[in-house]
Symmetry: D3
Subunit: 340 residues, 6 copies
């Protein structure tokens, strides 16, 4: 069973029930989630030996976050305990033309103030096959930048494949600082996932002169950026999901990828949304599975898109689907007929 | 007030709240349902003197199933008590491209092990006007086959009109066994309801050379099968609902029927689904009401389709609508304007 | 901060959870609402000093209604206490082709039996900028007619701008009686809001010969009626929302207005409905804000339409949106992208 | 199976969840109940053929009340439909020194305005064995007094045993009016249930000179009153429950009875209360069962006390216990050991 | 109507439903509370014109806290908006020998980082009659110490009576720092509330040689400390609640007070606990009402004890009782009989 | 970290919310539990490397059971997948004199039909320190007897300490069969836990002539039986919990043990019960921890009693307490004071 490591923050997610607004809520639904934790859960569902690395306070809220991960099969033994608090995000689910809202209250979380010495990366990456992180982790704090780079160095020492989801978060840092930090970290990365906005905000890429004969304008822009990214950082694959936000209730969902020679656009799904948070993370996890599973990059991309399309129908940050369920959708059965 | 009898299994339905997956659920919503019970409730709502015949264990779960039926006006006095357990089905509601899932845990239920002596069919069918059963009941066990045939014989002795919903369940028996058993039981049936799959799996019919000029191919196939069924078993009407599964959230819904001379395709409804379980049962009940009410078979079919379209907007197995509500929809008002 | 006064009834709203039918419900969700209270809450959200004038019994249910208003910033100091009961309405939310249902149990409510002496209108309208009422208030009882006219007279004495939402309620009075009462009250009104049905039932207007070249037939009918209304009562603006009920789940939503010289039809929104009750009230409140805010009548109309489109995505009678949220939608962002 | 009839009002009970106060509640738990309906349900649970006679409006709330009764086995075919509304009572459950609160909103209910012609009492009391009513029914309105007396006359014509629970409700009438009305109705009564307060307020009895050597003072008072009541009205049995309200959470519970020769005080239970509403009704039903079952009046009293002690541990107005469960407690097992 | 001001922090309280442990919770119940806010709500319930002064972030969670206060009648116009976050406390309710647990996550809250310039104390204390604060407010931060002293100076300039609840919080500061800060602030205080632990930790008092003949030892210790406190700081009254923690489910509850000449011990209540958080705050509020209402200090103390005994039966931080409800208990009716 | 193995069945527990009766329930709370699984969770909470061995069907309900165990830290890698179904038990929580009820529906569960070949016991018991089973496991089926003995033999081969909780279940087997099977299995047991009823029903022991001078009669009976059991089977320790069922709401709780020379009776706790299911299992786990932790048998017993007293305050089968929480209670703090 392949070993996968992800590093980042897991937050307490407090969401209003159903479509309630924040000012109406008399209770919050409680799950725990965060980009890298979400990826870890997806991959545990696919049968990998998955480790989530983070730091959580030594109280019951920290324990509840750990339990939430264990429940879905993630190995939590590398999670350090201590520090001040569990980061929080409040979520209000939108509908129709009313957007969902996220309020972050994540400053001073244990992982943002964690120390390199909290973790034994050589132990963590021993026999590991894949390491995934996102642009959120180094954005948490200066200490987190150091932590992330140490993890990456160790991963590379152990010949671990590395993927990143660029994930720009404007509340956490400026494009300038993001560019400075992330450009340095890209030297360790094999597979880069990120959309146009991420590419620009985090790495400074803008579409140049594009080959408009190759398809529609937006895809042409992606292709152009992917080529630049591949050239500058030598990524093996550059990948992005493509979201068409018709409304808070309905989205179009597909993805594109570039392997240095070919640019590929996946099948597109029209989704009636149940919960779109974690959609991008489930996409990254799906692609990672596709590649680890030995599929070609196009099939890996299709797996990622189908997996994450399903995520949009599932409550919470975590994508609770099996490989078999994704395969069924990949085979074209989106009819939703009852499975008895 | 006309007397209607149905015979079959009522199960405990344990469904996850909202769109939760099984592995998320911390509670299950509880209703009770099953094909023939669902038909009985619909017909009680339409004002008939309706009896559901079954066997339930002599414990509080059995009692709760009875109470659930009584609440909606079904007469439960012919339900035998005893046996081992109430059958269960677990339900996870799908959304968009994620299908709903049903897990059955119905083996060894009281009705599947019930004896002919548990029931006094001559008492039950005395003064009865209609008897309805489905292909699920004889599929439960060898004893259930005997039970079903005894009921049918008694019904015929009392000149009761008989309808069947073929309802093939692959977890319960093979097509071969289904064909063997059901072909024999068809001699007692006046009105046969079942779709293409049922017709093939249960009775072995496949569309032959069809008169393609008569309409689209699928409908032509139905017409052809219906003609064969009519010819072989002498049904008065052969009827099927027609579901177009766009996704777990949206379905097209219509029906077709054949009276030996004319093949009729009903109006089609596009449905935003709340709960599609029991949709077919509500259709059968609607058709039965239409026929008992003295409508011609086309109007009866339209009543069944409208009634079951409404069922898809109602939680639980039971269709809680009145004749008036169906009539309003039949008159063309699908606008959903608030009724004050 | 401008002072706004509304007068009317606030009811206890008992609604079934989710899509449950009345006969299924084991609990009711509890909010409080009513046309004029809903307008007051919207305007309090927009930052006005808003007073709701009514009468509520001197028990805890009355107190809970007051608390509900206070929570959302409405000043309740002019609410008289006493009388028999809080009016109730039961609500069952529809879906797809199943309509929502409202059952009223509002007779004998405290406000319907309130006396002019329960209120000091000179105190209430001192320094007020706007007074809003609806056709529901005088429809409650003979005493309520007197009350409404006294309020209107006082408002006019204090040079307060007056708006009305005609809101015909067939359970409360006949068109004849409505016409008689409301025609008299129109002398005090500056801004008249009401759709075609209201105009006919409440004020007796029917579309005459319309200028069919001006646009589609329905809009032409509205324009024609608006001209008649303006002419007869001298309204400054005549305004109506326009609902296209595709189903209980999906509506088209726009509005039109006439300022004596120009007839304007707003942008139209296609809405996935969460809760449509109070949609019209949120429209009225949006228009009032637009006008009080100094916008021209077209921009005020667009504000009202956008505000009320958002209301349809919010549970309860009250529209819990800020000016900023409406402005975002007005600027064209209906994509529903998560706001982080 | 013996036939039992009760006549009265069934109300919608809206109770705050758990220990919430009215001003906190965002939802109400929904059950339906009322003195005579509660007695009917208890007796249906004990296996009697029980009919509840009342009038309910022809809307879904009325239907839900009927369904609630049917669910628990009460025959509802004599319930007339029509009239204005279902009466309501709001309930807030107390704890420790905070009392429970009931707010009534029952005026103008369908049964309070029902007509004698709404019911065919000769049909209703045909073959009946027992008729039970309470002092609440005639207190509802002048029409209800006529209705009650007509029912009583019919019952007597059919040789039906009659029991009454005096149940004084100060919100409904004065002691003077109660005395006037009820004293007249007592001529039809065989078994009279009511505590000291009821006896005084409804029938005007006060303890006279009591035989203090016979036991403690309170019991002596009861004995004295019972003797007076027996003498004046010729009751076969005079009976009362005895509640010691230590707090809203803990009560002592016993009963006493007089058969014209012997005064008997039952075993006393100390109860941890879950829901005490309907406690008195479950006592009356238990006593009725005891007498119908052929027990002597002391054993019947013990059955009533044990049955109603159990009621205090059950949510809602209805006592959902079987004869077997009461017998277990009667045999002395109050240990609460898990029954597997 | 008298004007009362309190100053402090209002936190988001996230509590597990019922008796769930933190690691079980799938949702949190949401209320908002904090010592001084709780006092403000109690006093608003008693009919005072009550202002809560604090700072809350300019997001929906801050708004929800404000709405929560408004709902219960507190005037929120002096609440500044801005800063980083709403402080949080997590609550797990204990039972029997399992204690309740509170986890604080309150660092960096808006009020802890508020500036004196955020508030116009001369405006706030204009025409005010009473100012209440607790030892928690200055413990929040160095800036909060300055803020508290500025408020106190302004209160004194406006001749406002000042009360303090010492409330030592060991997570916020050391006894040494508390002593240093609070001893200085005591110069502004008229009424001092605090138990033995508070007196020692916050002000450094320990019982000296006590007059053991005066009563039991614990009370004698209180009397001795109160005398010392009175002497050193010149308080008008020194007051403490007295809790006997039999278990998490049952407490004894009384209080004692000293007015410089007489030491008084109140009636004691035995309480079955629903929610004990905020019990001390409701006691302080009750005493303040008693004194403002012109009662002597013994009667004021009794009012405070009765009011806070009731609080223990109410969910949430806030004591939702009226003066009338407290009076009923004061008159001795703790029987919990249903109030109809 | 010591390795502990338990073997048995984990069932789906469907319990009515709060105090609802089965016939009222519209939803069931869902947890998973069973004697040996409960012991495993307790020991995982105490920090052991705990393995639960069982078999579960290869569907989502089986997966949910596994997830439930993983959440609380139990290693599930030795759980075989396959077979027919997850066993179920329905639970209705009692109150006061109304007992809790359990309805079993556990026949044909996967573990009851599991084969020895489903497990590699040599792998399972490698490096294990303790093995715990109960009398329920062999009672499941003839195959389960073989399975249990194979596990015991393997445990002994690996020098693993073995404990048993006799746990007689009358629905599963007769005393005769239990005696026959269990007497044979006792040869492998070091620590025997079981009360008087278990000792008699499972092993055939009855108290002989007891040394009544040693204490009260019941304890004397226990001592006598323990001596017989020790003598016959050579147990190292014989242990029993002692429950005094005052009612379904309140129990006394203690335990006694015998080590071959000394008989010891623990401290007794008076418990206000939240959920008593799993109380005995939490006692066994506490004792096992005490012994594994190197405490003498008296201290181990006290740990078990305190741990299981706490269990009674926790919802669900699992005892979610840490060693620290038990220690706090052991040190005598049962005051339930809030821990901040």
């Amino acid at each position: 069973m392949k070993k996968i490591v992800t590093l980042g923050e897991i937050m307490l997610r407090l969401s209003t029930p159903g479509f309630e607004r924040f000012v109406q809520a008399e209770s919050f639904d409680v799950v725990y989630g965060g980009g890298e934790a979400n990826v870890a859960v997806s991959l545990a569902n696919y049968g990998y030996n998955t480790y989530f690395v983070s730091k959580l306070p030594n109280n019951e809220i920290g324990q509840a976050a750990i339990n939430h991960l264990r429940r879905f099969g993630v190995n939590t033994k590398y999670i350090a305990r201590g520090g001040e608090r569990v980061g929080i995000y409040y979520l209000e689910s939108g509908a129709s033309m009313r957007p969902s809202k996220v309020i972050y209250d994540r400053d001073h979380s244990s992982i943002s103030e964690a120390d390199v010495n909290d973790f034994d990366f050589d132990e963590i990456f021993k026999d590991a096959d894949w390491f995934h992180f996102t642009g959120i982790t180094p954005a948490l704090s200066e200490k987190a930048i150091v932590l992330t780079e140490e993890a990456l160095k160790s991963a590379k020492r152990h010949n671990v494949t590395v993927s990143v989801d660029l994930n720009y978060r404007k509340k956490l840092w400026t494009p300038e600082r993001a560019n400075e930090v992330m450009s340095n970290l890209m030297q360790y990365v094999d597979v880069c996932i990120g959309n146009e906005e991420d590419a620009e905000k985090v790495l400074g890429f803008k579409p140049g002169k594009t080959d408009v004969t190759s398809g529609d304008l937006e895809l042409a822009g992606y292709k152009n950026i992917f080529e630049q990214m591949k050239e500058k950082f030598g990524f093996k694959y550059v990948i992005s999901s493509l979201r068409e936000s018709h409304s808070a209730s309905d989205n179009g969902w597909s993805a594109c990828a570039y392997d240095g020679s070919e640019f590929y656009h996946s099948r597109k799904y029209e989704i009636r949304i149940v919960d779109r948070v974690g959609g991008g993370d489930s996409f990254a996890a799906g692609v990672i599975h596709g590649l680890l599973d030995g599929r070609n990059f196009k099939d890996a991309l299709e797996f990622g898109v189908a997996a994450s399309a399903l995520k949009h129908t599932i409550l919470g940050d975590f994508n609770m689907v099996t490989v078999e369920e994704v395969e069924t959708l990949l085979k074209g059965d989106a009819s939703g007929r009852v499975q008895r």
